[in-house]
Structure formats: structure tokens, C-alpha cells
Symmetry: C2
Subunit: 365 residues, 2 copies
């Protein structure tokens, strides 16, 4: 087993923690300091569990007490019932305030385990072991945790920074292709909002990434985590710049909401959503047509949808109104000033948005 | 209407907020800055609502949108169902991340409304208007929020500092005598753990406090909030000194748990619990017998129970094991080094604790 290839530190006002990135890492040596002689509850799901639970359990041979909570797989289980079940198990197993919760899985597992860790006894330690590309480049870093409400995604939650993020790219070998694409969606997001050079690099290396070339995928994850860490350090509680990470998400959440959670993967909805946000940016005269096309092509090459399934613009608008970034009834959107530079704004014409919603839906394709 | 008599600032790393204490205050002028043109959700209960909801609504005439969530009265409703119902109403009423949640009521209302505010869209603004003495001197200040789990009190929750605590002692005029006593329990706690002078003062002024003399009760609340604010400023997340505020609470929680939430008021359980903690402190040779007696007498004069209703010491011990302060299976207790000075410790003989549990239960009385 090899040592981590990359080590990155995330610093926020309240804490600082490492992200370790590598291939076939020694999990025990990464975890022992934080788990030795402590009560540890692993939260995972039925898909990930047969693949990596045994490896994790072996790495935790020095803990005082080990519990496992297994969720069904899928976004539709990211709800209050699952959240309360995790807390029930922590209570019935007699876990105390000094325990550690480990999330082993993708974004859904990480968000729910994190929210449980944030609120069990008003907060216990938390470790992320993300096993999907999406979780590795995005959701496991930065401390956003939460569950969905029937009326909106991630509407209930907390900011909870983990003590460690352990990213072993070997876990990607078992990831379904569709999930890999969904992860690349968030990779493209970083490039689109903040790093034009990275965008150029992605156009060149996309095939290697999709083939899971170890060196390329590690570097991809590292660059994404660097961006995320920097933005989170500047703005832990999303009062400013951090909102830019939601590029494509207001459109995407409307799609997820419309389809019912779990039908479209989050990354897929964000893929189509980024095209919509970029289309509006182009319509406002900010983004070059050639750059809109480049973004569309890269998203398509990644195996992601580029058209929204919501065929009625008014309905899409209504669903977008439920976004957390809505302020005084106005939908604030993250748009591109250019490829590699995003802003959060409410200064766009309502007509332009409606036009975008019209032409970017499958109905017009 | 008069201006606040006392103004106190609480400063923690993440924020700073005022506590305003007065009699028959002008609520509108206290609230307008934080609520004008905003969405405001009042959380209250069926007992408090007929008494003060209209006054609060009148004070909020300049808000953009006003919602009211009314809970049943009592500790037994401080559960996940009530918590999720508050979130449901926020969602169905279309409240957004810029809204304000106001708790109008006692500790249960404040704890639940605060937890909802802490977790709705990962945190919205929160204002406390405590209407019981217990909430005014203790639970409304310092940012502890949460709900009970069937297996333990306050086991699910978050730290969430309010933006304002508005204490109008006029609300105490409608408080049942038993609830007033329960509040005095927490008042005595501050004196016992940190302020022997205040203890002397309480012995002299207890009758005025119980008669709700405005000047005396305001000063009492102010002195308690000063202690609380100072301790919270030093230790927002209860990693050290703040735990001392739980004097009597480990014993008290066992009583509440045993009786079923709501049968004994929290303050009543803490009253008997403080006698138990003091008894053990005496048994360890730390507290003078005369000071143990003074504490017992003051608690009794306040109309509070001084004996635990758990007649089997082993059962009491088992219930105490569920406390959040349990570390590696050991019950850490807040004990008195002397009247006015407390410590958190696990250095006591198990036999002494058992003896205390025996002699302080009604069975031996």
C-alpha cells in the first residue's frame, strides 16, 4: 500500500483539517490517530458496504467500539427518516460525545452522516471517506451537510467541518460509469467558474480521466480540492464567494426537484444546469458563443445531459424560486462573466432567463 | 412603555449579541432593526400564545411576511416530530435563508425554535423572547439548542447563538408559581458554582424574588445573565468551564428521564440534583456541612424538591450513565469545592456516589 500522493490542508476559522489523496492507501495509518480507543460509527450504504466496509473495519482494529449503520442507496433516502435512524442507532448503541462518525460512501452518505455528526449531542467528530468522484471533488470538502425536504434539496442541514478527508482513488474502480460522469460535472464546474487554464487542461485530459488513469485522476481531484479549500477558507458559511460553487445548481436543483430525487443524478442535473447558466450568460452578452460551445461540448463528452427535461419554462422558474439563494423573491444566479470567471447576480432580464429556459429544454432540441 | 433597565452583550468567537432586560418594554423598538422587511416566523406554544402573541405581532408590523407556529405545551413535545413540523411550516410557507425565527416562550420553545433556526437552510437568524424565569436566566442565553431523544435529554441539537435576547420581566406575572420556582433553581445554581456573594444576597432577597419585585427580579436576571455570558464567552462549545453550568444536571436528567419528560419540571429536577451533587461534595470532604445545609434550605424555600424520586441507587446510576459528560464509561460530575466554587471531576469514589444516591432519595427521607 502506498502513501498519499497529495496532502492538502483546509483552514477555516473554527478548525483546520487535512485532505489526503492517493491510490490504494494505508487507511489504518491515516485513521489511527483520530480513532484509536474511541467509539466509531461507520455510516455507509448497501452498495458501498460489500466493496469497502471490510477494508475500513480492518483499518479500525484499534477502536474501543465499532458500529455500522447501513443506508439504502440513493438520493431519495437523504431524508429526515434516515437521519433520525442514524441518531437512533447512536443512542441505542450508547455512543457518547467523544465518538467519531465516519462517512464511507458518496455525497448522500457524507451529507447525512455529517448532519448526524453535527447534531448528535450538539456535535461529534466526523471523518469523510468519499468513494465517488463527486464526493471526492466536492461534497466531502467544505463542511456542508444536510438532508432534503420533500419541497427542496438540502433544505435542512448544518455546517460541519470534518476532521479528515481520506480520498483513495482506488474506490473509483468500482464506480458505475454514470456516477463517474456525474462527478466530472463538478470538476468542469471549478474550471468554468475559476480556472480557465484548468478548463484547457480538462479538454486535453478528459479521456484519461474517464479511463481512470491514476496520475491524471489524482491531479484532477487535487486541483478541484485546492479550489474548494481556498474558497471555503475565504467564506466558510457562504456569505459571499462560496456561493459561486453553486454554478449550474439553481437550474440543476429545479431539474432534480422536477424529476423526483434520484432519477437524475445530482451531477447530471448540474451538467444540464451549467449549460443553462452559460446560455443565459451568453444571452446577456457576457460569455462568448465559442466558450458556451466549448463548455457544452466538454459536458457532452463527459457523458452528461446538456438539455433540461423541464419543458415548461414557467414551471422551471417556479421550481427555481425555492432555491436557498432566493432573496426578497429574486432568484440570484451564478453566471459566467467569461469562461473561468463567475459572479452571483440578480442583474439579468427576466425575459432572457425565460428564453434560456425555453431553448435549453429538451422540448426545443 | 419603558426602556430596558439592563443591557448586556454576549461575545463569542462567531458573533456578538445583546441581552435586553426590562419591565414592560417597547418590543417594537427592540425588534425593528432585526425584523423590518424580513420574513419572520414566530414559534410559540398554546399557553404563551393567548398571553403575548398579539403584543409580539403588533411589534412586528413592519415585517414582510409573518408566520406563527404554535406548539403544544410541555417538555414531552420537545421531540423530533415537533422539530420537523416547524421545518415543514417554514418550507410550505416559502420562507428563505434570510428569514428570522423568533422564539416566544420558555425553554422548550426556545430550544426547539433555535434548533430549527440552526438547521433550516443550514442556519437562519434567531431571536429569543423568553417568557419564563428559567429561560430568562439560563436557556435563552448561550446558544444551546436541541430536542430530546426517547433515550436522553437534549441529545440532538446544535450550538446556535441568537441575534438578540429580549427579556421582559412583565411576562413573569403570568408564570405559574411552580414554574417560577423551577427558574429560581437555575438562579441558585449560578450562586452555588461561581458566586458566594450572590448566594448571600439570594438568601436575603429570595422573598422579594418570589413576590416578583421588579427591581429585585431584574437584578437577579441580570446577575445570572452576566455569569452565563462570561462563561459562554470563555467556552462557547463547552470544552471546559462551560460544563460547570450543568451543576446538578446529571443527577437531574436522571430524575427527568426516570419520571418521563414533563412530570418533573427541569428546574425541579435540577433542584433535587443540586442537593445530590452537594451531598456528594460534602461526603468527599470538600463542602462544609453548614454550606450543604444552606443550599438545601435555599432550594427548599424556593418551593423546590430536595429529594430524588429514584429509590434504587443502581437505577439512578444507570440513568446517569447516559449523560453527555460521560467519557470512557466514567460519569464526570460537577461538584462543589466550596459554596461558590465548582469543578468538573471524575475523581470521586463510586461508593460515595452510591451512598449519596441512597440518602438523597425520597426512600430514605
Amino acid at each position: 500500500m502506498s502513501s498519499p500522493i497529495f496532502h492538502l490542508d483546509v483552514s477555516v476559522a473554527s478548525s483546520s483539517y487535512p485532505i489526503l489523496i492517493g491510490e490504494a492507501m494505508d487507511w489504518q495509518s491515516c485513521l489511527s490517530e483520530l480513532t484509536q480507543n474511541r467509539q466509531v460509527m461507520i455510516v455507509t450504504n448497501v452498495t458501498v458496504s460489500p466493496l469497502y466496509l471490510q477494508k475500513l473495519k480492518t483499518a479500525l482494529s484499534t477502536v474501543q467500539k465499532l458500529g455500522v449503520f447501513e443506508l439504502p442507496d440513493g438520493e431519495s433516502y437523504k431524508n429526515s427518516e434516515s437521519y433520525l435512524s442514524i441518531l437512533d442507532q447512536l443512542m441505542t448503541s450508547g455512543f457518547n460525545r467523544d465518538c467519531v462518525v465516519i462517512a464511507l460512501g458518496g455525497g448522500v452518505v457524507g451529507d447525512m452522516a455529517g448532519f448526524a455528526a453535527a447534531t448528535f449531542q450538539r456535535g461529534v467528530d466526523f471523518i469523510q471517506i468519499p468513494t465517488t468522484l463527486l464526493a471526492q471533488v466536492d461534497s466531502s470538502v467544505g463542511g456542508k451537510t444536510g438532508i432534503n425536504h420533500p419541497l427542496g434539496k438540502n433544505m435542512i442541514g448544518a455546517f460541519k467541518q470534518p476532521k479528515l478527508v481520506l480520498i483513495d482513488i482506488q474506490t473509483l474502480n468500482t464506480l458505475p460509469e454514470r456516477e463517474l460522469s456525474a462527478g466530472i460535472s463538478e470538476v468542469i464546474k471549478y474550471a468554468a467558474i475559476a480556472d480557465r487554464d484548468f478548463f484547457d487542461w480538462l479538454e486535453i485530459h478528459l479521456d484519461s480521466i474517464m479511463a481512470l488513469d491514476a496520475k491524471t485522476i489524482s491531479e484532477t481531484i487535487y486541483r478541484c480540492c485546492q479550489h474548494k479549500a481556498q474558497i471555503v477558507a475565504e467564506d466558510e458559511f457562504e456569505q459571499g464567494r462560496r456561493a459561486l460553487l453553486n454554478f449550474g445548481h439553481t437550474f440543476g436543483h429545479a431539474i432534480e426537484n422536477h424529476q423526483g430525487y434520484g432519477k437524475w443524478l445530482h451531477g447530471e442535473a448540474v451538467g444540464a444546469g451549467m449549460v443553462q447558466a452559460a446560455d443565459l450568460s451568453y444571452r446577456l452578452g457576457w460569455l462568448e458563443l465559442s466558450d458556451l460551445d466549448r463548455l457544452k461540448v466538454l459536458i457532452q463528452r463527459s457523458g452528461l445531459p446538456v438539455l433540461s427535461p423541464i419543458h415548461q419554462p414557467e414551471l422551471a422558474l417556479e421550481l427555481m424560486q425555492r432555491d436557498k439563494k432566493v432573496k426578497n423573491g429574486q432568484i440570484r444566479l451564478i453566471l459566467l462573466r467569461s469562461l473561468g470567471e463567475a459572479i452571483l447576480t440578480k442583474d439579468y432580464e427576466a425575459d432572457a432567463l425565460l428564453k434560456t429556459l425555453q431553448v435549453t429544454s429538451g422540448a426545443e432540441s
